[in-house]
């Protein structure tokens, strides 16, 4: 066993240990054992950091990979298949090493932060236990080398998010939200499970490596449509976990959980799991499947962004922005910008965690006020929070010099390149939606910053009846709710501040790449390469030349290609050129073409998105700072659109009216059917049999018994007649005998005569 594997097993099991200790003994430990949670996660992070160091920094090999597995279930010699074993195992490659470090770091910071945020909660110890099992499940997903164990940890993440979202279970909204999250995830999970079943039914293995080897060898015996279906069904798991349309509805409601939990599961880990999983199965996605994925991602990014611009709850804005950013990642994977999508996954994890923790600090300081309309002017009171929050906002909006800028632009460049290669007009919708959403992102984040940190405090404006609107039901702080306005707002303590600073630092470009304009020059995108597909271009026509299209975006991109070639001015073949730039050379022409086109679209993407971001921020400034456009009047003017956005496109209402009401109605109908029809038939048969029995009884009584009685009666009567003959006198008998004899003779002689 490789030493890194051993270490990773330790990392995996440490949070589980934390869970076990804290769930059973938290009440017997000082401080409810929070130091155990923090300490264990600290150790886990230290080990993960070491793994990261030795894999990424020391080895620095894009193809690095170590794996280990063991037989978990042995089914013996199965007829028709032969020996069959289900294995469990661990694989460590560059992606795993990065994810390990990221997950443990954010989990550690959330643990630390929670010691401040959750202090005084009556279930404080249990909270840390739940954080532990959550981290364990997430690490399990990251380390898995096969579909079966990834599915196991996938559902365990569902369980732990259920526990964490519903942590304030006495609140009905929290209990609703946890149920909704679990069920929405389960819907995604059954798709994923079916995808796993399709692959298993072909190869009788769950291992990624073996499945890919078999696929590459062309051993998939079902039709290509099944392969596309398998990819899309597996992607359904991501739709659930990463809150993509149409299963995005759970994530905003999940804000009912404690705010640090939102940072952990809705920014860095659980939602990232979906994207991570799609990256793991990336090589088996057919071009058709990738197209669907790209469109779903683009639509989700756009839809969530349009909702985020009108939300008033500080966490809801962040929640929809998370959905939107996850849409970007999924879009990135769909268009084949593999490393860009994963890059965005990591950068987003840090700056979004920073934003959530920052919003937690604000909520904490504001005594559980979450409505941005009643905030304002906080920059003076909370300078640390303000600084870090702003930095993370810039990263989210995608301003140059931030990490988010590099990763988002890499995705958008990929989208342009993809649209160019695919060559159809409709494919330009993907980059178009991406750029438009970038503008919206800048707008709603600008709005948030202005509303929360600038201007004057608006706490006193809050109407009294609006009082119980969605705040954390913090038992320890519940008592303060009644006089929130009277309290002075203070900066939060060090254990909540330190995580903010660390996360903000991780949102700066230099951590990832020396060139603030190009993430591809950084270690991340060099270490994470797009893997070569194993399904081939069989049903895809790559011959469509990009140059044949004449759409406007193309016109922009094409000169860029020329400039690019011209500046490099090397008469090298394309593959050599790519190799020289440290890029991957693809055996698959489609992938190679997209990668090349994406590279060419790098600068156009930067230009467009920068313009979009500036537009978005300045528009936010026009509306909320200079008040040239009054937001309320504008909302009134476009009221249907405003309501459409405010009510989240009415998805909740639609689902409520169709699936939920439908299921409940169907259950009532079937239950009625069960008691009245099925059981009715059973009881009917019973009644029928009973009536038959009664009829039978009557028959028995009058006919059968009647016959019996009649027989008895006739015997009796005959007996009575015959008894008269039984006189006991010899003379009578002799006379009778003579009569009989005489009769016999008469009979005999009559026979003789005739």
């Amino acid at each position: 066993m490789h030493s890194l594997i051993q270490l990773s097993i330790v990392v995996l099991l440490l949070p589980l240990l934390s869970f076990v200790i804290l769930i059973f003994f938290n009440r017997r430990l000082p401080r409810r054992g929070d130091f155990i949670g923090v300490g264990i996660l600290g150790t886990a992070f230290a080990i993960s950091a070491y793994i990261f160091w030795s894999v990424i920094v020391q080895t620095y090999d894009p193809a690095f990979r170590v794996a280990w597995d063991f037989t978990w279930i042995d089914l013996g010699k199965v007829p028709g298949i032969g020996p069959l074993q289900i294995k469990m195992g661990i694989v460590i490659d560059n992606l795993t090493a990065i994810m390990l470090a990221m997950v443990t770091l954010i989990s550690l910071l959330v643990h630390l932060y929670s010691t401040g945020y959750m202090a005084g909660d009556k279930n404080y110890g249990r909270y840390f236990a739940f954080l532990g099992i959550f981290t364990f499940s997430m690490l399990g997903i990251v380390l898995s080398d096969n579909l079966f164990s990834i599915y196991i940890f996938w559902e365990l993440v569902g369980l732990s998010s259920y526990l964490l979202i519903g942590f304030f279970f006495e609140k009905d909204s929290a209990a609703d939200a946890q149920k909704k999250a679990f069920l929405a995830n389960r819907v995604g999970d059954i798709g994923m499970w079916l995808g796993i079943l399709i692959l298993y039914s072909q190869f009788h293995t769950f291992s990624f490596e073996q499945i890919y080897a078999n696929l590459a060898a062309g051993k998939f015996a079902m039709s290509n449509a099944w392969l596309t279906a398998a990819g899309l069904l597996l992607f359904m798991g991501c739709v659930g976990k990463s809150a993509q349309f149409p299963l995005h509805i759970w994530l905003p409601d999940a804000m009912e959980g404690p705010t640090p939990v939102s940072a952990l599961i809705h920014a860095a880990t659980m939602v990232a799991a979906g994207v991570y999983f799609v990256a793991r199965i990336f090589v088996l996605l057919t071009p058709d499947a990738l197209h669907v994925i790209a469109f779903i991602g683009a639509f989700t990014a756009f839809m969530a962004a349009t909702i985020a611009i009108t939300q008033n709850d500080i966490k809801r804005v962040l929640a929809y922005s998370t959905v939107s950013q996850l849409g970007y990642m999924v879009l990135g994977l769909g268009v084949g910008a593999y490393s860009a999508a994963l890059f965005h996954l990591v950068t987003h994890a840090f700056f979004k965690a920073c934003l959530f923790l920052g919003s937690g600090a604000i909520i904490h300081a504001m005594h559980h006020e979450q409505d941005m309309r009643w905030m304002g002017g906080l920059r003076k009171h909370m300078p640390w929070t303000f600084a870090t929050f702003t930095l993370a906002t810039l990263a989210l909006a995608g301003l140059p010099l931030t990490s988010g800028f590099m990763s988002k632009d890499a995705i958008l460049a990929g989208a342009i390149g993809f649209a160019n290669v695919e060559g159809g007009g409709v494919y330009y919708l993907i980059p178009a939606l991406g750029f438009f959403s970038a503008m919206l992102t800048a707008f709603y984040m600008g709005r948030q910053i202005w509303l929360v940190f600038f201007g004057e405090s608006r706490t006193h404006l809050k109407p009294a009846d609006n009082h119980h609107h969605g705040h954390d039901a913090h038992s320890a702080h519940g008592a303060h709710d009644d006089h929130h306005g009277a309290h002075e707002v203070h900066e939060v303590s060090w254990n909540m501040r330190a995580p903010l600073v660390i996360l903000a630092v991780l949102s700066v470009f230099i951590v990832y790449s020396p060139n603030p304009l190009d993430g591809a020059e950084g270690w991340f995108m060099k270490m994470i390469r797009t893997p070569a597909t194993v399904v081939g271009p069989a049903n895809h026509n790559c011959a469509a030349l990009p140059a044949q299209t004449t759409s406007p975006l193309m016109a922009e991109a094409l000169p860029a290609v020329e400039t690019h070639v011209a500046t490099d001015a090397h008469a090298v073949s394309e593959v050599e050129h790519a190799a020289a730039k440290g890029e991957h050379a693809f055996a698959d022409p489609r992938q190679a073409e997209i990668a090349h086109a994406a590279h060419a679209a790098h600068f156009p993407a930067i230009y467009i998105s920068s313009i979009m971001v500036v537009l978005g921020i300045s528009f936010a400034g026009i509306v909320f700072v200079f008040r040239i456009i009054d937001p309320d009047k504008t909302a009134e003017a476009i009221r249907p659109l405003y309501l459409f956005s405010l009510n989240k496109w009415y998805w909740d209402e639609i689902y409520q009216a169709t699936f939920i009401k439908g299921s409940v109605l169907l259950s009532k109908i079937l239950s009625w059917f069960d008691t009245n029809v099925i059981d009715g038939i059973v009881n009917g048969v019973a009644v029928l049999v009973r009536n038959l029995a009664f009829a039978n009884n009557s028959f028995d009584k009058y006919v059968v018994d009647g016959l019996v009685n009649f027989t008895a009666f006739s015997v009796n009567t005959t007996g009575a007649v015959l008894r008269k003959l039984q006189t006991g006198k010899v003379q009578t008998y002799v006379a009778l005998l003579l009569v009989v004899l005489f009769g016999y003779f008469v009979f005999y002689f009559t026979r003789l005569i005739y």
Partner: protein, 542 residues
């Protein structure tokens, strides 16, 4: 060994007969000792069992007795019937991988049932005598290898069950008891006919006589070609398969023969519900695996699709009915129907993955559902109601109870890491891999979502949120300033007491352990299941 494990409870019943009925504690302890001794024997059997021997029927070149273990074989009834030849019934016991897991499950659930019966106050002596009779009969069914003996044990189960529901049950107990009794009897009448038909169609390869031995019957070479159920008599073999199947399906219970189950559960006292769901239902699917399918493999092969559809109906229909229930126990009863559907689906797959999943699901459903019914009993004892809407917020006041409920509920909805998941997963893996049941499996996965829906919804309504205005309990502010829960006329501990924990904790531990490391059970069953799949696969495909 097997005779001992079968007849120990009856022995205990005989001892109880001699105890005066006022000595309730002695009666209970005698029963508990018998159950524990049964448990010890089960553990011994588990340890001594050799998982490399397949059982099922004679292997090619092997002994005609098959490779069963712990075999006991004695002539029992031998009658000369003149022209009909002789009637030979044997006392023939033995286990293979299919039955040994069920023996362990039966011993476990019986022991927990005794503990759960501790609170029975009405006619304790009669109750425990019947209970022990039931325990013996169930165990006997799982180890009998002679069809006639199996039938005797099968019918023997009915009698105590009828009285246990009919005397110690709820308000509507007599209706439920008679429904259960008639339904099961209806199934077993046909079983009797098929049994006799089989007797005259099968020749024991050793003695040359007709035989009731299931081992001989499972080998198609032992059939007389032209006999009533011989290979030539295709139509009668289909008829026999179907009526046997209905007989076992009633026990499972399979849609549309399931309506006795919710009634029986709602009326039965907690320990009887535990036994009923934990063990009795498995007899239906066990009978299919032991008798119905291997005796008529070609008919099974032709019926896989139909069985699979019924499995899917059970899964989804049961889940929807559970979603609509207001009575918690009825919800759990319908969840049993849904979960037994997985067993049917796994069997219908006809491959090793599916059958292993089905058998493992039988074991896991036994432990998990036992847990569910015990937990329902806990709250019913305290609140005297099981209406889901009469609670709310229990998590705050009964944390240990809520924690175990959460584990049990999540086990039931098939959460990975708990044993139910592995069996359901294998059922789906098998059903999807089989071309026959592929599309059925694709529909059945909906059961995963709706299973989660009704369980989480009930969990929320009972345990989360706050006390409902019309709840079946009151809240009082105690001396420590915290709110405490108060049930009317409940004197015992509010949260789980020691006896309840003794019943539940082992089940929780088993559920978690077998969810993480299933090989202790799976290791015993795989060889036999692989052999069974071979027996079931027609030669043409094999």
């Amino acid at each position: 060994m097997l005779s001992l494990i079968v007849f120990l409870p009856i022995l205990a019943g005989l001892v109880i007969l001699a105890v005066p009925s006022s000595q309730k504690q002695i009666i209970r302890i005698v029963s508990l000792l018998a159950a524990l001794a049964q448990g010890v024997l089960a553990v011994l059997i588990w340890r001594a069992y050799d998982p490399s021997l397949p059982g099922i029927t004679a292997s090619p070149g092997g002994s005609p007795l098959g490779s069963f273990q712990f075999v006991e074989k004695l002539p029992w009834i031998s009658l000369k019937l003149g022209g009909f030849g002789s009637l030979n019934i044997e006392y023939f016991l033995g286990v293979d991988g299919i039955s040994v897991t069920m023996v362990i499950l039966t011993a476990l659930v019986s022991a927990i049932g005794v503990l759960s019966s501790w609170t029975i106050q009405k006619q304790v002596k009669g109750y425990f005598i019947l209970y022990n009779l039931l325990a013996s009969a169930m165990m006997g069914c799982f180890v009998a290898l002679d069809f006639f003996l199996f039938y005797v044990f099968w019918e023997l189960m009915l009698l105590p069950m009828y009285f246990l529901i009919g005397i110690w049950g709820g308000p509507n107990r007599e209706y439920a008891a008679i429904k259960f009794f008639l339904y099961t009897l209806f199934g077993s009448v046909f079983m009797l006919l098929v049994m006799i038909g089989l007797y005259f169609s099968v020749i024991d390869p050793v003695t040359g006589n007709h035989t009731f031995s299931l081992v001989a019957m499972a080998n198609q070479a032992n059939y007389i070609k032209s006999a009533i159920l011989g290979p030539d008599n295709v139509m009668w073999r289909y008829v026999a398969f179907s009526v046997l199947f209905v007989g076992f399906a009633i026990k499972v219970p399979m849609f549309p023969f399931h309506t006795w189950l919710p009634d029986a559960h709602v009326e039965a006292p907690t320990p009887i519900s535990v036994i009923l769901a934990g063990v009795l239902l498995k007899l239906g699917t066990y009978g299919m695996m032991r008798i119905n399918f291997p005796l008529f493999p070609e008919v099974f092969h032709a019926s896989m699709y139909v069985i699979g559809i019924f499995g899917a109906i059970n899964i989804i229909y049961g889940a929807f009915c559970a979603l609509a229930q207001q009575d918690l126990k009825k919800m759990v009863a319908y969840s049993s129907i849904s979960h037994m559907g997985y067993v049917l689906l796994g069997l219908a797959a006809g491959n090793s993955e599916g059958m292993v999943g089905a058998l493992y699901q039988m074991f896991n459903h036994g432990t998990i559902t036992a847990m569910l019914f015990l937990l329902v009993g806990v709250i019913y004892d305290r609140a005297h109601t099981r209406q889901i809407d009469k609670f709310g917020g229990l998590s705050s006041y009964m944390p240990v109870y809520a924690a175990i409920v959460t584990v049990a509920w999540f086990a039931s909805l098939g959460l990975p890491g708990l044993s139910g998941f592995i069996s359901e997963a294998f059922v789906f893996v098998g059903a999807f891999s089989s071309v026959t049941t592929r599309y059925i499996a694709m529909v059945s996965v909906l059961g995963i979502v709706f299973g989660a829906a009704y369980l989480l919804w009930s969990l929320q309504r009972m345990f989360l949120g706050k006390r409902k205005p019309d709840a079946a309990y009151d809240l009082e502010v105690g001396a420590d300033g915290h709110e405490h829960i108060h049930f009317h006329d409940w004197k015992g501990k509010i949260d789980l007491d020691a006896r309840e924990l003794t019943m539940l904790v082992p089940l929780v531990v088993i559920t978690i352990f077998l969810g993480i490391y299933p090989m202790p059970i799976l290791g015993m069953i795989t060889t036999s299941v692989n052999r069974l799949v071979e027996v079931l696969t027609p030669l043409a495909i094999r």
